[in-house]
Amino acid sequence: MSDQRLLIRGGTVVDPANGIDEERDLLIDGDRIAAVDTPGQIPDPGSSLDATGCWVTPGLIDMHVHLREPGYEYKETVQTGTLAAVAGGVTAVACMANTLPVNDSAAVTEYILERARLTGHARVHPIGAVSLGLEGKHLAEIGEMREAGIVAISDDGMPIADAALMRRALEYAQLFDIPVIVHEEDPALAADGVMHEGQTCFHLGLKGMPSAAEEAMIARDLAILEQTGGRLHIAHLSTAGSVRLVAQAKQRGLPVTAEVTPHHFVLTEEAVRQYDTNAKMKPPLRTSADVEEMVAALRDGVIDVIATDHAPHHRDEKNVEFEEAAFGIVGLETSVPLTLQLVRDSGLTRSAMIEAMSARPARILGLEAGSLAVGMPADVSIIDPQHRWTVQLDGLHSKSKNSPFAGWDMVGAARATIVGGRILWPQEKGTE
């Protein structure tokens, strides 16, 4: 069915990898991009999609997602998670290794890819564990997993306390030219904290996670990186101090990249005020000064990537005492409108937005994606930046509904999501 041609006309092509940000028509032939040209130049092949008023971008890539399969299918599956992805305009996700069993072997990697082939909507790129069982002791068989299809390694969720293991991971991963993605949190400093340590935390009588818990680990890993080389990607920055450390490291030419989640550039610790467990995540929501720094760092390119850390949890895991509740929120279906808010109000260019949501994650993970150049796979997101909608939890496609954005009025949504030349969003009736 992919040997058809489809013309996307009338839209604005935003393709930072090729320096394009203007009205263009785009032709897909089968599963590849066949032509990009000024409006009206490409003859209608008989099948076309009107993108007037929309942005036509390389498929968005969310490089930090928890699909929960295998092991936690009651929270999310490859099927529901990738459906949420395409509904949010995302054509590819990289999924973290903290499944059950942990993705620390080729067998689990192959299983995830098999589930993706059978049930997936968006493309799925597994991330392997750094250490066996995420226990932070012994390196997993990274080569075996790489051959099976992983695109990076990470013990996300379990910070690597052992500096020597971190060193060996950065060294060994160079054998396969894949990045080591780190969740930076000093376990002793963060201890049993449940929110940002600051004024709100003191007020609410909750245990805090200080900014220093994140910054101390980033400082450590940058020092190790300087010695080992390799590629370090720092997940979900949340503090102004972290941004400063990354900026300095980049100035020194260290091979480091960094990401931020929409919730860390939109929400502050204030969201916890009523003990809302959907505002509980790691790293925690910080202060308004930190939020300002996130936005500035995105504008300046100090932060390379926007990724959601989509972390589905069952309602029973959230509808408990704040201290008992699971960390994390879903994010795939709200990242586009939340980021568009920065484009409208905070001086982020749309080209920078698409770079952070597509071109750069593609480059970091070594994917054949993130560009609309002729011959590239036809992964295309069509974004309507004006579409108004209200977040209703029942309307989310993720199996879990743990979002702090319930009831928020959003502007911007995916008009269509095309993966390998096939329109996977909106869904044709009866295909769900």
Partner: protein, 316 residues
């Protein structure tokens, strides 16, 4: 003026008039406890359920006596006999209790914010009897009642709170009440118990002598012994060297200054026996006032449930 809330979860955000209304109500109930027959029929036929997920002797006893003096039936479920140990969630326990139609729930829980979760779920008033390090509103109300009684006012007083502010729900509720009622608050303790953000709530002192100078009221906090294991302090001995309220240090306060402590006291650690048993101590008055304050809170909240139910019947 009256008390507008459906629940008493904390004193944070309450208007001065609301706190004063609660205190005045408590004053009017105090007389009942001095009678020979210490019982009035005010809450006859009402059921008050105490959910104590954390050990509590004096607060539970105080609530129980308060409920019984108002003729309410008081049933108490403690942590060890509840289903919490069987893995039942807080909300499931609460829903089951709520299904038995209580008129008021009183909850003590080790987790900050737990009463908020409960209040959102059950259809009856909830009184917070202490949640984690967050609030203990009835304790602060009885402290306010005691200060008003002994000093005559709260507005304009200098009040020092001494000890483990970081982990203290008693401190938080008292800070909110004192600020609402116009007192000046000083917070005294080692920096491990007083993070930099504490300065938003009061004048921070690490030196006991400087902090106590010319205060009208000293509120001591109980030191949890497990804090030394977590390195908040090197030893109880060293803590008492710098922060124990002894007679000599109390001399620095205004003549006639009073000393409060929520109990149970650690003699010789945060408070010397000479002070705890001395003329300045109002510790037992606090306990007496605790019953009156809890009678007032039960009357206002459990009593209101009856009003609503009666109105509902009339509509039908």
């Amino acid at each position: 003026m009256s008390f507008a809330g459906d629940h008493l979860l904390g004193l944070d955000g309450l208007a001065r008039e609301e706190i004063e209304y609660l205190l005045e109500s408590a004053e009017s109930f105090r007389e009942i406890s001095a009678r020979e027959i210490k019982k009035v029929p005010t809450l006859r036929g009402k059921t008050v359920v105490g959910l104590f997920f954390e050990p509590s002797t004096r607060t539970r006893t105080s609530f129980e006596i308060a409920a019984k003096r108002l003729s309410a039936d008081f049933v108490s479920i403690s942590g060890s006999t509840s289903s919490a140990t069987k893995g039942e969630t807080l909300l499931d326990t609460a829903r089951n209790v709520a299904a038995m139609n209580p008129d008021c729930l009183v909850m003590r829980h080790g987790s900050s914010g737990a009463p908020h979760l409960l209040a959102a779920e059950v259809g009856c008033p909830v009184i917070n009897a202490g949640d984690g390090a967050h609030e203990h509103p009835t304790q602060a109300l009885l402290d306010m009642l005691t200060i008003r009684d002994k000093v005559g006012r709260i507005e304009g007083l200098d009040v020092a709170i001494v000890g483990d502010i970081l982990h203290s729900r008693v401190a938080r509720s008292n800070i909110h009440a004192l600020r609402a009622l116009g007192a000046r608050v000083r917070l005294i303790g080692p920096p491990t118990f007083l993070p930099p953000v504490a300065r938003h709530w009061g004048e921070v002192h690490h030196d006991m002598a400087a902090g106590l100078r010319d205060v009208d009221v000293v509120m001591m906090l109980r030191l949890q012994r497990e804090r030394q294991g977590a390195n908040f302090l090197p030893s109880l001995d060293e803590y008492s060297r710098y922060f124990c309220l002894n007679a000599e240090r109390l001399q620095l306060a205004k003549p006639g200054a009073i000393v409060l402590h929520p109990g149970p006291i650690n003699r010789g650690i945060e408070i010397a026996s000479e002070v705890a048993d001395g003329a300045s101590s109002v510790i037992l008055d606090q306990v007496t006032n605790g019953v009156a304050v809890r009678m007032a809170c039960l009357y206002i909240l459990a009593g209101r449930a009856r009003v609503a139910a009666v109105e509902e019947r009339q509509v039908v």
